[in-house]
């Protein structure tokens, strides 16, 4: 009988007894860097991130992991997780009142907004990091995430801009602007579609801002009247174009990876990337044809940054900060920016770096197939408030997907 009592207790009571203690975020953030280093060394760190790109995975697994192990004895464990899935996990942990299994996460925009809504982030930790002095925090594309001042709550990690990707062998005259897009789509039926996910919503936001003729209308807090007017214009345009989309607009790819696959197979003429340099990455992988090219249509597309966050109830927040400090070091950022490694644009201000690093950043191998960064900087829209994204995502389903 005792066996059954033990089983019952094991199932119901004991897990609660072994639960690790929750730590006060204020106390964590009031430590000095030497204290953080002392407490963070030789700890495991659990990081969740998007694992959909072999180059990015290799950068993390073959470079960042061994480096933090060597420098701090940190065992960095990387798992898949992002967006709403991550938010759900953290919400469940909060409801259960238990410390998080996640110490740090790759986040941006809408996830930052959601994590702040549920108070799941540690707090303003970035100023504690020694390498934060190199960050380009004067840049509005880096210091503001979806119109929300970052304020140290998440640490900038990389900066990217939405780009259109096409095969120059089969498409010699890609539409140069959003204004040219409707005529092009009508003249080339079945070649264009919009993924029903993050990148797709970035296309819709850029298209809507381009339609308005004044992207500054979308700056600041969410404006219902602006959204109604310009999303209305967008739905009207998409409604007229729908029969000319891939599969006559009867369905849309649910993820970006299947759209990349359709592009690689030649079933569609265009795919997209939130990273303007991804085309180099995918060609180097042999996934896209060597004739693939990326460009930014006029008048521009959204440029944004991605960030690293420390979770509020993390079990190893100090170790997570050590990892993040390494990830924004000039050495790690330089390697990440190399198109043969990842091609993710740096968030460091080159002029703040030591002279040796300034030279190294400027002498990096240039992109071969992606647009030049300096050339597209003038065609960058700032991310509008998160509500534009959530509303577009909902209304895209109502106004476009479900009107078949």
């Amino acid at each position: 009988m005792n066996r059954f009592i033990f089983l019952f207790l094991a199932l119901t009571g004991l897990p609660g007894c072994s639960q690790p203690e929750q730590r006060d975020p204020t106390a964590i953030l009031s430590q000095s860097w030497p204290q953080i280093e002392a407490r963070g060394k030789n700890q495991p760190v659990s990081m969740v991130m998007w694992l959909g790109d072999p180059f990015i995975n290799d950068y993390m697994n073959k470079y960042v992991r061994p480096e933090v192990k060597k420098r701090y004895g940190i065992d960095l464990q990387i798992g898949a997780g992002q967006g709403a899935g991550l938010v759900q996990t953290l919400m469940a942990e909060q409801e259960a009142g238990q410390p998080s299994e996640v110490d740090m996460a790759w986040i941006n925009g809408e996830t930052f907004y959601q994590l702040r809504q549920i108070k799941a982030l540690l707090g303003p930790f970035t100023p504690l990091l020694p390498n934060a002095r190199y960050l380009d925090l004067r840049n509005r594309f880096i210091n503001t995430d979806f119109q929300q001042p970052v304020n140290g709550m998440e640490c900038p990690w990389g900066n990217v801009q939405l780009a259109f990707i096409y095969d120059s062998r089969t498409i010699t005259d890609p539409p140069k602007s959003f204004a040219d897009l409707p005529a092009y789509i009508k003249a080339h039926p079945g070649q264009f579609t919009i993924p029903n996910e993050f990148t797709g919503m970035t296309i819709l936001k850029s298209w809507m801002m381009a339609l308005s003729g004044n992207p500054r209308l979308f700056m600041g807090p969410f404006n219902e009247a602006v959204y109604q007017k310009w999303s209305g214009e967008l739905w009207t345009q998409l409604d007229a174009l729908k029969p000319y989309f891939w599969k006559a607009g009867k369905t849309f790819p649910e993820q970006l990876a299947p759209l990349h696959q359709l592009f690689a197979n030649g079933e569609v003429g265009f795919t997209f990337s939130n990273n303007d340099a991804e085309v180099d990455n995918k060609i180097n992988l042999g996934f896209f044809p060597k004739t693939a090219r990326a460009y930014v249509p006029d008048p521009g597309t959204i440029q944004n940054s991605h960030y690293l966050g420390v979770i509020g109830h993390a079990q190893h927040p100090e170790a997570a900060m050590l990892v993040i400090n390494f990830m924004i070091s000039p050495e790690a950022q330089l390697r990440k920016m190399d198109p043969t490694v990842w091609g993710d644009h740096t968030v460091l201000a080159i002029d703040k770096l030591p002279a040796g690093y300034r030279k190294l950043f400027r002498e990096l191998p240039t992109r071969r197939y992606a647009p030049d960064r300096d050339a597209i900087q003038g065609k960058a829209f700032q991310e509008p408030a998160p509500e534009y994204m959530t509303r577009l995502f909902k209304d895209f389903r109502t106004h476009v997907i479900e009107t078949n």
Binding site: F4, L11, G83, A84, N196, T251, E267, T398, I401
Partner: protein, 283 residues
């Protein structure tokens, strides 16, 4: 402790695991959908249920899931019955019985990817037909995945289900001594066709009905295959619910919980009713 007390404790643990935990999950989903549980809860509200009812998407999803389930289940059962009743002794000879296990070992996600590669317009079949000169351009190949009729989903479900049903019917055929019954019906003047239609098929279907019901429920809740091979609209219920739970707007999550609760209750009710009906007709 007496054996009666031991049994009571065991039953309690069993009930906690089998009934208690799922019901707690359902209860949490219901409370979340009413705005009284969850980190974003702001007090009792019916707004999420109103949102759920306003769209009509859940109803379309339920109908679409029912259609996919009935067609794939019906065709799988039809193929399996035909193999068992017409294949007869051939089906019992190696390697056929072993081969039937092969599709059962393939995970649904792998089956989905395989069919996508095979049947999409830029897939292997399309390329073969193009090379053979049967199609002149990519659009000439018929839409077999992400199509309105759910052909890809149905095909995948059939490929995964019919080997299982064939093995099941073969075992039931032997257990029910249908060969002996066939001889008996023949001595009474029945033809092979009459034996199959009036005796074998009813016996096999009735004996297999609990399994068929469970398989139908599993098909209705399928996720991987419809995610890969289905359209963005209409969606099967599992995709519909997951989509609501993982949207960018956190205010959509209670709507997802409401949809999940409703689907779970409908499924449980259907299983209960079908299981009772099946039991009444079981031989």
């Amino acid at each position: 402790m007496s054996s009666k007390q031991t049994n009571t404790l065991l039953l309690t643990v069993y009930a906690l695991l089998v009934v208690g935990l799922p019901l707690m999950g359902l209860g949490t989903a219901l409370l979340s959908s009413l705005g009284v549980a969850g980190p974003l809860a702001r007090g009792f509200t019916t707004q999420y249920w109103q949102q759920l009812g306003a769209g009509g998407g859940l109803f379309s999803s339920l109908l679409y899931s029912l259609y996919i389930t009935l067609v794939s289940l019906g065709l799988s059962v039809g193929i399996a019955l035909a193999l068992v009743l017409a294949g007869g002794s051939t089906l019992n000879r190696q390697p056929f019985p072993t081969l039937l296990y092969v599709p059962l070992l393939v995970p649904s996600l792998v089956m989905g990817f395989y069919l996508f590669q095979l049947l999409s317009r830029a897939g292997w079949l399309s390329r073969i037909t193009y090379q053979l000169g049967l199609t002149s351009r990519i659009e000439a190949f018929p839409e077999l995945v992400q199509d309105a009729a759910g052909t890809g989903i149905i095909l995948a479900q059939i490929l995964m289900a019919f080997p299982f049903f064939t093995l099941l019917f073969r075992t039931l055929y032997t257990d029910a001594r249908l060969d002996e019954l066939r001889n008996l019906t023949k001595t009474l003047g029945a033809s092979d066709r009459q034996f199959r239609q009036r005796v074998a098929i009813p016996v096999l279907l009735r004996r297999a009905s609990p399994t068929l019901v469970l398989f139908g429920v599993a098909s209705m809740g399928a996720y991987d295959i419809p995610l890969l091979l289905g359209r963005t609209y209409p969606q099967m219920v599992s995709i519909f619910v997951t989509d609501r739970l993982s949207r960018f707007d956190l205010q959509e999550i209670p709507v997802g919980y409401g949809a999940g609760f409703l689907v779970a209750v409908l499924m449980m009710g259907s299983i209960g009713w079908l299981a009772r009906t099946a039991q009444n007709y079981a031989l």
